[in-house]
Symmetry: C2
């Protein structure tokens, strides 16, 4: 271990600690993991939560299909193995952002309990906040903003969650948001309140 002095500050070998990053940002690193059927409202809520956090001067970053499927996970398809690897990699990236002190918000269907539980097990207690964005299949199918349920029903998409592939609801999520009875901005406000109460919005 060597230390050197430059401009009155001592630089040492070894990392900046997570705590130092969190103090800089005045927040705690955490992963808000949203899970739910397609059209449940995950992305809408995630976007509003992100805005609310920015408004509170908190540093959040969303991981979603747009920035993951075309990038890190572009070499994965939809086999059972690839789906598991998809969630595993997202979990690892969320863990890195959490370690960086960022509030990572993920919005993926993430239908399998086993895959989500593996992400949770890979993080420290309190770092993984699972938010079940709940909607009935009927309501989701009625919304169908991208026409995906229609295509799945017509057999044009195979292995679609809720139609010909299962969605395994979380058994003990930190939060349940029922989007048939709650508006997106109310849902986001509720998650924000959870983060505030849990001490995540201060270092």
């Amino acid at each position: 271990m060597t230390t050197v002095k430059a401009t009155n500050v001592t630089w040492h070998e070894g990392s900046v600690s997570r705590q130092e990053r969190e103090q800089l940002l005045n927040q705690k690193g955490v992963t808000v993991w949203m899970t739910g059927l397609s059209a449940s409202g995950k992305s809408t809520i995630a976007c509003i939560l992100e805005q609310m956090l920015l408004h509170r001067k908190k540093h959040a970053y969303r991981l979603d299909g747009d920035n993951i499927r075309m990038g890190l996970n572009k070499n994965l398809a939809f086999s059972a193995e690839d789906r598991a690897e998809n969630i595993r990699r997202i979990g690892e990236v969320a863990k890195l952002f959490t370690d960086a002190g960022v509030i990572a918000i993920t919005s993926f269907i993430s239908p399998y309990k086993k895959d989500r539980d593996a992400v949770r097990a890979n993080m420290k207690p309190g770092e993984f906040v699972e938010v079940y964005v709940k909607v009935s299949l009927e309501a989701a199918e009625k919304r169908d903003p991208k026409g995906l349920y229609k295509k799945a029903r017509a057999g044009q998409i195979k292995g679609f969650t809720g139609i010909d592939d299962p969605y395994e609801a979380p058994e003990n999520p930190e939060m349940v948001i029922d989007t048939e009875t709650m508006q997106p901005h109310e849902a986001a406000a509720q998650i924000l309140a959870y983060l505030e109460k849990g001490g995540y919005l201060a270092a």
Copy 2:
């Protein structure tokens, strides 16, 4: 597009922009990609740079073997294909951190020009700052802090960069740091100066 009003703030569908994140942090997202032989000094310089950035109240995060090899890339081995995939994934994660507005510092040998150039091509101009941490093989082998060169020479490690696997030096890196003539804190200060001059330390 729906907008809702809550507590005098309008929340809209759609993301927080990168610019908004950068303004919050008062910095610009960028990837400082350090490449060089084992024992060239990459990690030491990266750690000091990270401290200097924290001292300037800038949010940086290091990606290195410790947090990548045991996590995101733990299912990769050392075949040519896996080495390329290793760097590809690191590049994708660095891109996400850059998009998040963070100063990502990577310290991996990343010996192949093709792999590094693919990471660069995947980012926008100015987002990828390649720092060639230069050292002669002789000097690196003399340092050998982990005894890896010794093991490679003894044939106990196969495909070791510089011994029985090539290191392809960058042709046009943004910076060259010769660690045979420059101390780690001087090298870090030089990278910091580059970032400052390039406008990365303000939004």
